[in-house]
């Protein structure tokens, strides 16, 4: 029963336990429940990845209604990779969460928090697993609505406005997607992605399909914060509770990118997307601008969470750049970076959570000399930061390596220079923090703080460990990503 229903269980288990979490209320049981479920989801995801790797793409007809009639869950290598990283980040963040949540969120709200967290996880996993365009919209909304709530629970009032801004932009994005899906349905009569892929070539020379493509792309771009539609992101990441920043930054935009991949390659097909619609050129320009501008803006931020948020916008640029090449190497690079960036950003935001727990601030000038007091936390930041820059032996280097070689393969060497230039900007903004924490004298009036508790350090170090492992041996990840990319490029031939 377990193995054949694995795909469904992946999404349904967190879904069913979300209400349970609500009922458990403010006690620690809610946390325990969320923790167990997160690890369960990670376990299922691991099984799923191995299953997909051994016997190929998993298709699951929900309610036993075969594909175009019913809703299909379809997990190929790319989807499995996304599911795995979401589940892994989820498990890490939940292991970390208790102390941070006790500190940042009022006790009476903690039950709601854990419930919303599980709902968000459900939504994200659902998006990655589904093979149905409308079902994707539904799960997108689950994840979005719950992340609005999660963000609004931040400690300052600006969290509320950030969540509101996100809600407005997110809903516009979702509505755009809905319009696009509606047009697709109108022209083909189906909502199933594989079926769409088969039926679209007959009608893809119509204005309706072109507009549908544009609307889906814009809608998803809002969700994944593609420059210049990223305006919601910096505030949302800055003012959300630390745990939420870590979780959302590592997963939500990644899922957006996955959705984009699905639509570009599986649904519309590489020819329509990149040859007929020229989306590659447009995305490439936007990605490069995102990389450079957002990195530059990040340099001038004094709030470190905000800095990391802008850095995320820039890193999304890297991923999109890889995708915009529309080559196997490019998509592989995009997916590798997607995975790696999730690990890196999650660790960095967890690190911010540690600092906020002890210091009550993540402003740059409050961090002076912090490395002496919180050496383990700051070590996480340094390694994570180096990874963001792309220093060898960290996972960030692997991403950059694949990305630059993909760009060079496509004969676009000026882009390679720009990519590396953007990583220099990363060096500067990470360097500012490191310089403050390690090489500046602490403010004499500042209070002494202790190192964060082990329960918060271990998850961050696990992420860093994974990061370093990938930096040393990326063959497994690269293999999976390559396999996923080939399936995507090959228009979904399993």
């Amino acid at each position: 029963m377990l193995t054949e229903n694995l795909v469904a269980l992946q999404v349904v288990v967190p879904l069913i336990f979300a209400p349970v979490c609500l009922l458990l209320g403010k006690s620690r049981h809610a946390w325990a429940c969320a923790l167990t479920v997160s690890w369960l989801a990670l376990g299922i995801a691991t099984l799923l990845v191995t299953r997909v790797a051994t016997i190929g793409t998993q298709s699951y007809a929900i309610g036993a209604w075969a594909a175009p009639i019913g809703i299909e869950y379809r997990v190929d290598m790319a989807g499995a990779l996304i599911i795995f990283i979401i589940a892994a980040i989820g498990a890490m963040v939940m292991s970390y969460a208790r102390r941070s949540i006790e500190h940042e969120i009022a006790a009476e709200n903690s039950g709601y928090f854990y419930a919303c967290y599980l709902l968000c996880l459900t939504g994200l996993l659902g998006i990655a697993a589904t093979g149905d365009a409308f079902n994707m919209f539904v799960f997108l909304e689950i994840s979005s609505l719950s992340s609005y709530v999660l963000i609004s629970l931040g400690t300052t009032r600006r969290a509320l406005t950030a969540a509101f801004q996100y809600l407005v932009m997110g809903t516009i994005g979702a509505t755009f997607i809905l319009i696009g899906v509606g047009m697709l349905y109108m022209m083909t009569g189906t909502l199933n992605m594989m079926d769409l892929a088969q039926r679209l070539p007959g009608v893809d020379d119509t204005r309706t399909i072109r507009v549908a493509f544009a609307f889906v792309t814009i809608g998803v771009s809002i969700k994944l914060a593609l420059f210049p539609l990223h305006l919601w992101l910096p505030n949302a990441y800055t003012f959300a509770p630390s745990v939420v920043s870590a979780f959302v930054a590592a997963t939500a935009t990644k899922v957006g990118i996955y959705v984009l991949l699905r639509f570009f390659f599986t649904v519309f097909g590489i020819h329509f997307s990149f040859v007929a619609m020229h989306v590659g050129e447009i995305l490439m320009v936007l990605a490069v601008v995102a990389m450079l501008v957002a990195s530059l803006v990040a340099i001038f931020q004094d709030n470190i969470k905000r800095m990391l948020a802008y850095s995320s916008v820039a890193q999304i640029g890297y991923m999109i750049l890889g995708i915009s090449l529309a080559t196997s190497a490019g998509v592989t690079a995009g997916m590798i970076h997607l995975f790696n960036h999730a690990l890196i950003k999650c660790a960095l935001f967890l690190c911010m959570g540690n600092i906020f727990l002890r210091l009550g601030s993540v402003e740059l000038h409050d961090l002076r000399g912090l490395a002496q007091q919180m050496p383990w936390t700051m070590a996480v930041f340094v390694i994570g930061g180096l990874s963001l820059i792309g220093v060898p032996l960290t996972s960030g280097f692997i991403s950059k390596w694949y990305l630059v070689s993909a760009v060079l393969d496509a004969g676009l060497w000026p882009l390679a220079v720009l990519i590396l230039l953007a990583s220099l900007f990363a060096l500067i903004y990470i360097g500012r923090v490191v310089e403050a924490a390690y090489f500046s004298k602490p403010d004499p009036t500042a209070k002494k703080v202790r190192e964060a508790p082990a329960s918060m350090l271990i998850p961050a170090w696990l992420l860093i460990g994974a990061n370093l492992y990938i930096g040393v041996d990326a063959s497994l990840l690269a293999g999976i990503a390559r396999q996923g990319a080939d399936i995507l490029i090959g228009a979904g031939v399993p």
Partner: protein, 492 residues
């Protein structure tokens, strides 16, 4: 212990030493004993590899492969061994020196100083024994990062500014240019292994090879070829042992070493000759030689003057690496050693003067030779070697360089070397002259100005060793010459 294991140990020992050093941070004596012991052991281990290499066997070991076609692995070859021998030997000497310097100069945070120093040396070993360009690149970056805390050791605003300059130049060039070149090479050839005769020949057009060469030469920012040279003077805010070992020997030599490796094993000397950019880059190097020497002339701060001199001298080696001449390669390789001994002596002397008299400016050093005769004698030897006069080691390398340049009729190089020799004399001899033949000023501290008040014993010991080494290498140049010849012989 097999040669491969020794190889690994050589890289690993300095990397694990910080743990020991940090553990002993409350007991300075034990801490420094560990440092000394470690550096000594390292030298002996590197030395033990010499036999293998001389017999022509080149032990190698591969560890992991992060990206298909790319390995992290180590291998020994003559040039690397020469560099490793040099660095490990001078590390030992510098450790001796550091103990004297750091204690007498009352530096803070000595433990972290020794830790980062050890890591930096480990990185140098990694560079020296890197089995492929990728491994080399990793340790190259690691070296930059581990020396950054040493540059900013003082912790004040000036040091932090210098640190930014340092990181900005070195990481900037290496990430944008070198990494690009690396990935490009990899995507063209599918490998980054060092191979005799190069890997690029036959796979790329001279046009692309030109671009690659430019990327490599400027990307290896540690060679301090203009216009990416400003980091080196900036790094002089670091404590003197750092300037001495790292910024006269380890870091900058890692740069030119990398360049030599690239030109020998990635391009191949023969292929290099077919690349149009080579000639232009040689002009850049020649210009750097002359211009940096002119800048050195204008510096009053002794350490800065030495730094500019280093920039100038490094470009000799860059010039040799691009000269497409076996004699030039020999000259360049040997110059790594010769210049290292001389320059470290000079820096040791500058540090000794600083510790003893708190003076940093050349114009203040009038008559200092009477007070610190041993120190200034060593300084003189170093200066002679810099200029390239016998009986100092610098003569030998310069001789081969000139021969090489003449062999391939690179007259610009010949002129640059000759002019810079004159300039070297012009900026070093006045120091010697002032120190020995100028009357000292009225001593404010009422000590007898003619009384000999030398630097601490440990410092003297260290600079004595290197000064003697500078002279000795003139007479005993067989070992480096043999290794260098083996290098050229191997590439033919």
């Amino acid at each position: 212990m097999s040669a491969a294991t020794t190889l690994l140990t050589c890289v690993a020992v300095p990397m694990v030493m910080p743990a020991l050093i940090a553990a002993l941070h409350r007991r300075p004596n034990a801490r420094e004993a560990v440092s000394l012991l470690g550096s000594g052991c390292l030298f002996l281990m590197v030395f033990s590899l010499l036999d293998d290499v001389r017999q022509g066997s080149l032990p190698a070991i591969d560890l992991v492969s992060p990206v298909p076609g790319i390995k992290i692995g180590f291998a020994v070859e003559p040039l690397g061994l020469m560099f490793a021998l040099l660095a490990s030997f001078l590390w030992f000497v510098t450790t001796v020196y550091s103990i004297g310097y750091m204690r007498h100069h009352h530096e803070k945070r000595q433990t972290s100083f020794y830790c980062y120093f050890a890591i930096a040396l480990g990185s140098v070993m990694g560079i020296a024994f890197a089995g492929n360009l990728f491994t080399l690149f990793i340790f190259y970056e690691l070296l930059t990062l581990s020396t950054y805390p040493l540059v900013t050791h003082a912790g004040n605003t000036a040091a932090r500014r210098a640190g930014r300059m340092y990181l900005g130049h070195l990481i900037g060039t290496s990430v944008i240019l070198l990494l690009l070149a690396l990935i490009w090479t990899w995507s063209l050839t599918g490998t980054l292994d060092f191979r005799a005769g190069g890997i690029l020949e036959g796979t790329v057009t001279p046009g692309i090879a030109s671009v690659l060469l430019v990327l490599f030469v400027f990307g290896i920012g540690k060679t301090a070829v203009m216009p990416f040279h400003l980091w080196l003077p900036a790094a002089m805010v670091a404590p003197t042992p750092v300037s001495a070992l790292l910024h006269a020997v380890a870091v900058v030599k890692a740069g030119v070493f990398t360049l030599l490796k690239v030109s020998i094993y990635i391009f191949g000397i023969d292929f290099l000759g077919q690349i149009p950019a080579t000639q232009w880059l040689m002009y850049v190097a020649a210009a750097t030689i002359v211009l940096a020497a002119l800048f050195a002339l204008r510096q009053d701060n002794l350490k800065l003057r030495l730094a500019w001199s280093t920039i100038s001298q490094l470009s000799y080696i860059v010039l040799c690496a691009l000269m497409v001449s076996p004699l030039g390669i020999i000259g360049g390789s040997v110059h790594i050693v010769m210049h290292a001994f001389a320059k470290i002596t000079l820096f040791f002397c500058a540090g000794a003067i600083l510790v003893t008299t708190q003076k940093t400016r050349v114009s203040e050093m009038t008559g200092i030779g009477r007070r610190m005769p041993w120190t200034m004698a060593a300084f003189t030897i170093g200066a002679l070697s810099m200029i390239g006069l016998p009986p100092a080691a610098g003569f030998i390398s310069k001789w081969y360089m000139l021969l090489g340049a003449i062999e391939v009729s690179q007259w610009v190089a010949v002129i640059a070397i000759s002019v810079s020799t004159l300039l070297n004399a012009a900026y070093f001899l006045p120091v010697v002259y002032i120190a020995f033949f100028h009357a000292p000023p009225d001593a404010p501290d009422r000590v007898d100005i003619n009384e000999v008040k030398e630097a601490p014993m440990m410092i003297l010991l260290a600079l004595g060793i290197t000064a003697v080494g500078t002279v000795a290498l003139f007479f005993l140049s067989d070992l480096p010459m043999a290794l260098a010849s083996q290098l050229v012989g191997g590439s033919r």
